[in-house]
């Protein structure tokens, strides 16, 4: 019994609303959330393929993919799609997450998002140019 209130004290019992495992199928926004979470599977899958190519180079069995490798091209297109999905959803949040102080105010979220997407565009154009240029070098 509590000395202050005179009421009998019992262990607190909290109600936990049961959550079914298919909760993410109930709404479109929940489903899209789970799709966003699963994009990492494709990103990792493609990096594992890349490391496999590095291993093939190391052990002497490297053969670059050609236009006849339909399955690999389809795999890469799917991985690229989900990687871009990750990139767009992740960089869209950058304005909300990154707080850049300027005096007693913060840099507007729209500016941070513009810089983030500008960085993606810049890296894509410059990176692609460098990677393609190396292919044309006389080594």
């Amino acid at each position: 019994v509590s000395e202050a209130t005179g009421i009998e004290e019992r262990p607190v019992r909290t109600y936990r609303r049961p959550l079914r495992n298919d909760w993410w199928l109930r709404r479109r926004s929940y489903f899209l959330y789970m799709v966003r979470e699963s994009t990492v599977i494709f990103m990792v899958a493609w990096l594992v393929w890349f490391l496999y190519q590095v291993a093939a180079l190391k052990f002497g069995g490297y053969e670059p993919p050609t236009i006849d490798d339909y399955a690999f091209i389809a795999f890469s297109v799917v991985c690229l799609f989900f990687t871009l999905w990750h990139a767009i959803t992740f960089l869209n949040l950058s304005g909300l997450i990154l707080r850049v102080p300027i005096g007693d105010r913060f840099l507007p979220a729209a500016v941070i998002k513009t810089v983030a997407f500008g960085g993606l565009l810049f890296v894509t154009v410059v990176g692609a140019a460098i990677m393609i240029y190396i292919g044309y070098l006389n080594i």
């Binding site: 495992n21 909760w23 993410w24 789970m34 979470e37 699963s38 990492v40 599977i41 990103m43 990792v44 493609w46 990096l47 594992v48 393929w49 890349f50 490391l51 190519q53 590095v54 291993a55 180079l57 190391k58 490297y62 670059p64 993919p65 050609t66 236009i67 490798d69 690999f72 091209i73 795999f75 890469s76 297109v77 991985c79 690229l80 990687t83 871009l84 990750h86 990139a87 992740f90 960089l91 950058s94 997450i97 983030a116 960085g119 993606l120 890296v123 894509t124 990176g127 692609a128 990677m131 393609i132 190396i134 292919g135 044309y136 070098l137 080594i139």
Partner: protein, 131 residues
């Protein structure tokens, strides 16, 4: 009335350093993967097989590119941060899908973060011993 306890001495208010470390790596991994991974997949995975030359054109160009320590470092950082980012997301995704038991969460954490670390070690060994 309970005696006053400074916040830094309270067990229930201590910072979760482990969680903050993985969340920090998750955030950085997400950003790095979002900016750098699309172009690598686009050039090597799609444009390359369609006939546009790139650094994976043949074993000579591939080996020459991987011979640069900065390229090795870039690829290792890309792999490491992407793997850790993926581990963190998968850990919470599987939790959302029903793996919520106390024991299963522990197993899930060890499996996800462990796989990310093992993957990074394999990547480091491959990248720094090739060509």
């Amino acid at each position: 009335m309970a005696a006053h306890v400074p916040w830094h001495s309270r067990e229930d208010l201590k910072p979760a350093y482990g969680h903050s470390f993985w969340w920090f790596m998750f955030g950085n991994g997400g950003g790095i993967a979002a900016i750098f991974l699309p172009v690598v997949i686009l050039v090597c995975g799609v444009l390359g097989p369609l006939g546009i030359k790139n650094f994976m054109e043949d074993s000579r160009h591939f080996a020459w590119t991987l011979g640069n320590p900065l390229v090795k470092l870039f690829l290792l950082v890309l792999c490491f941060l992407t793997f850790v980012h993926a581990a963190h997301r998968l850990r919470y995704m599987l939790f959302d899908l029903g793996l919520r038991g106390r024991g299963s969460v522990m197993v899930l954490e060890w499996a996800c973060y462990g796989a990310a670390i093992v993957g990074t070690v394999i990547a480091a060994v491959l990248l720094f011993t090739t060509p």
